[in-house]
């Protein structure tokens, strides 16, 4: 893996009149060439500030930022501008010039790089074709939908063949369907152009959809980072768990708990185990009956991650043995009562 962005001990403190607020607190981070890296966190966690330090839209208070081997903080203004041309950026609010046509908005980035008029025209049409907006080149941003605006801004950000694309909550202002299509486009660009993408978001869905690796931020610090699948399969930090829960968990109505006479277990299947026949083996091996109450298998980075809630009925001794066997086989097994785990066993700690 070749690293494209390296951040070393980065700090950003905002000085206001009366107090200083820490935006980013001693963050070190490496982002590899060609990957899609996500940063999640609640608003105010400092993820946006961190992202904006990657092209020096925000100048860090201390620390180092290397993009493609260049120490951005050491560059004089003119060279920093040149460096920025190979770092594309898109925003939650699109930030298109309202007085320019779609074509001129994209061409602006080329103009900034000193591309000749004739080549600008050619390249702009190529870019609009890439994002699927060839027919809108003469329209003004006010005539476009949110998703279309974001496509224009993606075209603009790709104009100078950047090595990395920074996405600042790029899908947060879009509806779920449009979000999906924008993410698909980003994924395609990542595949076809080999473009490294760094995206920050508060939506775990987005991370699940396209990120190879992901970091979780809280109060300016990175509290956990891992491959997206690992993060979903075995989150360690409480906040990470909360984020995962927002997309992976499901609630079972209380009435159902009251009706159930057996033991209710929630099981998490990760990696290969999600594809094995653990449940049916279990029901064969022990004298119990199983009743699926809820279940879901998600595919993250093309790997399955399943969560099932089952009611197990039978003699208590058999159930105890069955649970033990489950605990040995699975990532996480929880016995639930009224929706809350009463006895939690984490297979990895045994």
């Amino acid at each position: 893996m070749i690293s494209l962005i390296t951040i070393e001990r980065l700090n950003k403190v905002f000085e206001t009149n009366s107090q200083s607020v820490v935006g980013v607190d001693n963050v070190s981070l490496t982002i590899n060439q060609g990957e899609i890296f996500g940063v999640v966190g609640y608003s105010g966690a400092g993820k946006s500030t961190l992202l904006r330090c990657m092209n020096i839209l925000e100048r860090p208070t201390s620390g180092k930022v290397y993009v493609d081997g260049t120490d951005l903080l050491a560059l004089p203004p003119k060279e920093l501008r040149t460096a920025r041309q190979s770092i594309g950026m898109i925003f939650q609010g699109f930030h298109l010039a309202m007085s320019k046509t779609v074509e001129d908005n994209v061409a602006f980035a080329l103009k900034a790089a000193g591309v000749s008029r004739r080549k600008r025209k050619e390249r702009t049409l190529e870019l609009l074709d890439l994002v699927g907006l060839s027919d809108k080149s003469d329209q003004y941003p006010a005539q476009l939908s949110g998703g279309q605006k974001q496509r224009v801004s993606i075209a603009r950000s790709l104009a100078n063949n950047p090595k990395v694309l920074l996405c600042d909550e790029a899908t947060s202002a879009l509806d779920p369907n449009t979000t999906k299509s924008i993410l698909k486009l980003l994924k395609r660009i990542n595949n076809e152009l080999g473009l490294t993408i760094v995206l920050i978001t508060h939506e775990m869905e987005v991370v699940k959809e396209i990120c190879d690796r992901c970091a979780v931020m809280e109060e300016g610090r990175i509290i956990e980072q891992d491959k997206t699948y690992n993060l979903f399969a075995s989150p360690e930090n409480a906040l990470t768990k909360k984020f995962i829960k927002s997309v992976m968990d499901f609630e079972i109505p209380n009435e159902l708990y009251e009706q159930c006479s057996g033991t209710i277990v929630q099981m998490k299947f990760a990696g290969k185990k999600a594809e094995e026949s653990i449940v049916s083996d279990l029901l064969k091996e022990f004298k119990i009956r199983g009743n699926i109450l809820h279940g879901k298998i998600d595919y993250i980075q093309k790997k399955a991650l399943g969560i099932f809630v089952m009611e197990l009925e039978g003699e208590s001794e058999e159930i105890r043995k069955a649970l033990e066997s489950l605990e040995q086989n699975l990532e996480e097994v929880e016995v639930l009562q009224n929706g809350r785990p009463v006895h939690r066993v984490d297979a990895r700690t045994q």
Binding site: A97, S99, F108, K111, Y140, S157
Partner: protein, 220 residues
Amino acid sequence: MVDQFIELMPELNKSFVETLIMVGIGLLVALIVGLPLGILLFVTDRNLFLENRWLKSILGVVVNLVRSVPFIILLVFLLPFTNFLLGTTTGPVSASVSLSVAAIPFYARIVESAARDIDRGVIEAAIACGASPWLIIKDIIFPEIKPGLISGLTITAISLIGYSAMAGAIGGGGIGDLAIRYGYYRYDNFVMFTTVILLVVMVQVIQYAGDFISKSVKKS
């Protein structure tokens, strides 16, 4: 009444042209000097790409200083400067010196406030593209505020018409001066009403034209 009007015509014509000269020169200077000044006031502001606290506050103080002097005082105060510049202190061109000096900061503030209305994110996106400050001013800020620049010019023109009435105090002439000399000093109501009606029509035409042009360059 028709006789009176015919009698007044040459004087009215002359005054009208004088007003046009005064306001025209004032507007031109406002555009040439006030526009860049307004943009400079904007881009040197906090958190903007040419942030410069010293320049910003010096410019701000100077602009406020000129704006706080009543126009009639400014007119008299600038007489030596006008004399130095033109070798005379009377006539519409002389009066336009003071009008220009008053128009520059007036228009500069209008330009500045129009620029403040631009979504900061658009400027930020331009910076992220690696654009130079000059390109951002020329290619982003200027087109984005074009409707505001035109309606600001309308406001400035109308204010200058008002100011130009005082130009008579230094022998500058103009419609306003005519109204004061005949209508006010000589109690000639006919001249007074005629000139006032002419001023009203002028202002309406300018406002209408300004709105029309401003609207036609607006893209959203």
